[in-house]
Symmetry: C2
Subunit: 210 residues, 2 copies
DNA sequence: ATAAATTATTAACGGCGTGAAATATTAGCC
DNA sequence: GGCTAATATTTCACGCCGTTAATAATTTAT
């Protein structure tokens, strides 16, 4: 498992003297708790409930993107996920060894490898999403429709504001973790979506986080 | 940099047939975008702006916790961050090599090593938090106080609901990423807070994510 | 026909985690 | 006081995961 991130030193000062205000502090606090909780769905403990192999986060993300967009190439996959082709190739080695993915030489270009998820791989991803939904549906139900809508409105507003100020535009944006929507406000701000279907596969709702 | 997480396969079914509802889908979408954006504050690109060494996320988190709680032991640090003592020791090797942390044998027990951040280490952490605050204060300002309060209320409610259903209680909870508050609702649900000051140091607002 | 570019893989490296073993020290028990 | 068990940390060997650079095969451009 990996470890965490931001601490606040309330005494610290930068050249413009900024210290988190009470509002910002509270936002960071609850924002980070949510981040941590959502992240737990990619820890090996959770993944182990849908896969008999010990699947790592990285492997799972590769698998998810392959499942969502069939016939990606190794290099495309690498660009989508923001890693090098070498890293892509090695992760695919491991997924192949687990029988979750297979490589096929492209008919059109013998250099190119097309990637497909195996039946096991597809099932694993499906089971994962079902389990995740089963875990979280009661949470949303308990919050209620009106509050959920309000929360999502506010989250979107704050994310757009953050993204508008982000400094490193990405070539591809997978920030939604694959909870894709065609009219994505985030995509318009930065980075085309790696999840936008490329071949009219009909898979409109897929996802991976970069 | 590391890569992403959850995709949704809208056609998938688990034994109880759960598929994300539209509400859950939207929540996951915006929740993951926020998670991704907050996470970018721990990427090497951001860390590089406050540190001339190339500091990794892991190293930074170790440093942050050491800064927040002086005189932690190697084993305590490991438990707080949910890693093994061996991992703790090695990360400390690297931080020591960078001059950001030092080890001191405890006066009371010669087996125990007490950890301290150097002046450089403390300054780095301070600069980090100031830069982060400088980046995010305008976001919160643009949202406005009332909406920020509303957003935080809703975030806290949903996080409590998620935590109430979490299955793997942690020995220590650092989910707030160190944006600590003495009356923590999350701490009451699960895992004592690793950030609660242990020696009355007066550092009430500190943090790391586990 | 040739050179340049592209695609994927491999090698070497460092970061980061693990469990097991080793070493030094302290605590508990007789 | 002596001995055993427990504790604290470090080191080792390993695998995962990323990088850059080099390589080989193939396609594209000239």
């Amino acid at each position: 498992m990996s470890i965490g991130d931001g601490l606040v030193d309330s005494g610290g000062r930068f050249e413009d003297g900024s210290v988190p205000s009470a509002d910002l502090y509270r936002f960071l606090r609850s924002g980070h708790v949510l981040r941590s909780l959502l992240r737990e769905f990619l820890e090996e403990d959770f993944l182990q409930q849908v896969c008999r192999h010990r699947l790592t986060r990285s492997q799972f993300c590769f698998l998810k993107l392959i499942t969502a967009n069939s016939d990606l190439q190794v290099g495309e996959l690498a660009r989508c996920l923001g890693v090098s082709p070498a890293a892509s190739s090695k992760n695919l080695d491991r997924l192949e060894r687990l029988g979750l993915v297979c490589r096929e030489t492209s008919g059109q270009d013998r250099r190119a490898i097309l990637l497909k998820a195996s039946a096991d791989g597809v099932e694993l991803v499906r089971d994962y999403e079902s389990l995740k939904a089963a875990r979280l549906e009661p949470v949303i139900d308990s919050l209620g429709r009106e509050k959920t809508e309000q929360l999502c409105d506010l989250l979107e507003e704050v994310c757009v504001a953050m993204l508008a100020r982000a400094e490193n535009p990405r070539e591809t944006c997978l920030r939604c973790a694959g909870y894709y929507r065609p009219d994505c406000a985030f995509e318009r701000l930065q980075g085309k979506c790696a999840l936008r279907p490329r071949r009219g596969d009909g898979l409109d709702e897929t996802g991976v986080e970069a």
